[in-house]
Symmetry: D2
Subunit: 117 residues, 4 copies
């Protein structure tokens, strides 16, 4: 029986993985933020010379699809490790942010006459 | 009764949020990868002049803690939107990556005599 | 009479500027590399939602043109400060790199029959 | 007889290099800004797990020194190509920015009694 995949379980695996290799001294919030930004750039690198249309078709090539998936994993890994060391709940943070953005950016159907101009 | 927060539900909220504002034409994989990398840099910016020790204490200041949480939300938002447009499962990607890394980086206790040298 | 602008003179101004404000302790190579990457992302942010065609016209809008020029200045400032603290000559580095790339990527006219296929 | 190295000459070499390989269609301002940011992250990657003290000694190791120099060249290459396609003068931009910053951040010796508090 496998438990369903969830963020808390993956975060626990990552923390145990780093602890078993004595990597915690390297995992300062600053270093993890740098590593997160480096991995996000590696994901962007795949797209840097592509047209918008080509960028929509990257998963059609198995080699590129694997690279994309691998970089997504790296970005998420460092984001979850960053959140673990600072005790930030990323899902609650995003939920609250979407709530705030719903106020800041009214949807087309929610705008008043005045806003639509 | 609120459903528990999970990635799939947040991803659905983000997709609906963008659709309600007609933002899909902007949400090419290339643009979302660029936005993800820009947000990861905004998180790094908070730490760029801090010592490792100062970086470990950022959550003690309420203003900085709010900024950190906000940037974490932005990074996760673009990562989930990127995954939505390319139909990548970020949790499965990370789970598979940790499996692979367990083979690549044996833990201290798992190393053979020969590897410990 | 003004001296012509050159990299060495600008680098000197930047180093004196930082010294006069006691900023050298913050200017470790690691911090300057982080700041350089943050500024490069701020430049990218201007373009993140633009089509290729719109991106070619950014200088037509005075506000955007000013923002682009300002971010270019910030990227160059941190690059030159990084090079100053590590005693790297950026112009010599680039000159040597172009030499190497001329070998790695033959120009259309320089390719042999065999390479053209 | 070699001309002295200067930014305008390197920029000319870069533009000719790209033209000889028919790379101009890829060199939109948006793509060059993305590539610049990717290269800046590759420079940061060298430093991501280093302490501030280790980061100050990177040039002592010939392999790392070569990697640093190579990434500096790449960052400068994309910055100059970006400036070439948008007709931005990077040295004038930086000179103007330092002028503005001298007003924004008074040096220790220039501060009035009131500012020193």
């Amino acid at each position: 029986m496998t438990e369903p995949l969830d963020v808390a379980r993956l975060q626990r695996r990552l923390v145990e993985f780093a602890a078993a290799r004595d990597w915690q001294p390297y995992h300062t919030p600053k270093n993890l933020a740098a590593a997160l930004s480096v991995e996000a750039s590696e994901l962007l690198e795949i797209f840097q010379w592509l047209t918008p249309e080509e960028s929509a078709r990257v998963m059609a090539d198995p080699g590129t699809a694997h690279r994309v998936t691998d970089e997504v994993a790296d970005v998420l890994a460092y984001l979850l490790q960053f959140c673990a060391v600072l005790d930030v709940d990323p899902l609650a943070a995003l939920d609250a942010k979407i709530d705030r953005n719903e106020g800041r950016f009214p949807a087309a159907g929610d705008r008043t006459e005045a806003e639509r101009g």
